[in-house]
Symmetry: C2
C-alpha cells in the first residue's frame, strides 16, 4: 500500500482527546500523521490544559500533499479554525485535489464559516447543530457521517469511531477491525 498521510490542524484550545485519539489510531494503522501548528511551532495549550508540541507548522506541512486534513474540536480551538482564512484555503485546495476533509465535535463550524460543501450531510457536537443547520447543512445524529469526501463526528466519546472510520477509508476495514480489537474497544 502507498504511504498514507494525514494532517491535523492544531490551534490553542483544541480538544486534546480528539487530537490524540485520532493521531494515535492513525499512526497505529501506519498512516503518517503530522500535527500541524496553525499559528507556528510553539506548544499548543489544549482545551483541558494539556500542552502538545506540533510536529511542524501548517505552512510547512501543506507543502506535502495529505490524504486527509483533520479538524479537531474543542473551544476555542474550533472557533480559531472557523475564523482563520488560511483554513478555508487549505480545505478548498484539499477538495480540489480529490482529498478527504474531516472534522469532529465543534469543528464542523469551520466548514460552515469557510462555505465548504454546503448542503452536504454532516454531524457535530450537539451544541453547534443549530449553527450548522442555519448554514444549510443536512444534519445527521449518526456518530460518524461520511458524505463524499467529508467525514464528521460528534465528540470525544466518538473519537475512536471517527479515527477507525478514517483507517477504514484510507487503509482497510480489516485494519480498522484489527485495531478495534487490539486496543480493547468494546
Amino acid at each position: 500500500m502507498a504511504l498514507r498521510r494525514a494532517l491535523i490542524l492544531l490551534a490553542d484550545g483544541a480538544e486534546e482527546m480528539e487530537v490524540i485519539i485520532t493521531s494515535d489510531v492513525l499512526r497505529r494503522a501506519g498512516i503518517e500523521v503530522t500535527l500541524g501548528g496553525l499559528l507556528g511551532s510553539s506548544p499548543i495549550t489544549c482545551a483541558r490544559k494539556a500542552r502538545i508540541l506540533p510536529d511542524a507548522t501548517v505552512d510547512d506541512a501543506v507543502k506535502t500533499s495529505h490524504d486527509v486534513i483533520i479538524l479537531p474540536g474543542g473551544l476555542p480551538g474550533s472557533q480559531t479554525l472557523a475564523d482563520t482564512p488560511k483554513v478555508g484555503d487549505i480545505l478548498r485546495s484539499q477538495l480540489s485535489s480529490g482529498g478527504y476533509i474531516a472534522a469532529i465535535c465543534a469543528a464542523p463550524i469551520a466548514f460552515a464559516s469557510h462555505s465548504i460543501q454546503k448542503g452536504a450531510t454532516l454531524t457535530s457536537f450537539p451544541g453547534v447543530r443549530g449553527k450548522l443547520e442555519e448554514a444549510g447543512y443536512n444534519y445527521s445524529e449518526d456518530r460518524v457521517v461520511v458524505d463524499g469526501k467529508m467525514i464528521t463526528s460528534r465528540g470525544p466519546g466518538t473519537a475512536f469511531e471517527f479515527a477507525l472510520k478514517l483507517v477504514e477509508i484510507l487503509v482497510s476495514a480489516e485494519e480498522a477491525k484489527k485495531l478495534h480489537e487490539g486496543m480493547l474497544l468494546k
Copy 2:
C-alpha cells in the same frame, strides 16, 4: 467538595491516549491533574510519537499530596516506570498515606517490579498477564478492577472507563454519569 488532586507519571513511551483521556476526563470533573515528568521537565515523546510537555517534574509534584497516583501504559514507558526505584517509593508512600494508586495497560508491571500489593486482584493489557500472575497477583479480565486502594484497567479502549471510575471514586457517580453523557460515550 474539597479539591481533588491527581498525579500522572510521565516517561518517554507513555501511551498518549491513556495519558490524555485520563487527564482530560479528570479535569472535566474538576480534579486538579498534574502531568509529572519522571525524568525532568523536558517534553515526553509518547509511544505513538505525540510530544507532550509535563506540567512539573515528578520531584516537584510529590511535594504536594495527591488523591491518586496514575501510571499510564505504553512501551517503553511502562518498562521505565517498572525500572525506576523512585516510582516504587512514590507508590509505597501514597499507600501509606491512604491514597489511591492506579495503572492501565502494561503499567501494572510497575506494581509487580516494586512489589506493590502482591496478592491483590488486578487487570492489565492481556500481553503482560503472565508476568503479573507469576508475580503473585490474582488476575481479572474485567475492564476496570478496583481492589482496595488499587485501580487497574486494560488498554486504550478501556481508558474512558478507567478515567470515569476514578471520577466516580474521587468525586461522585453522578459526575461520572454526567461526563459519560456529555462526552457522547456509548
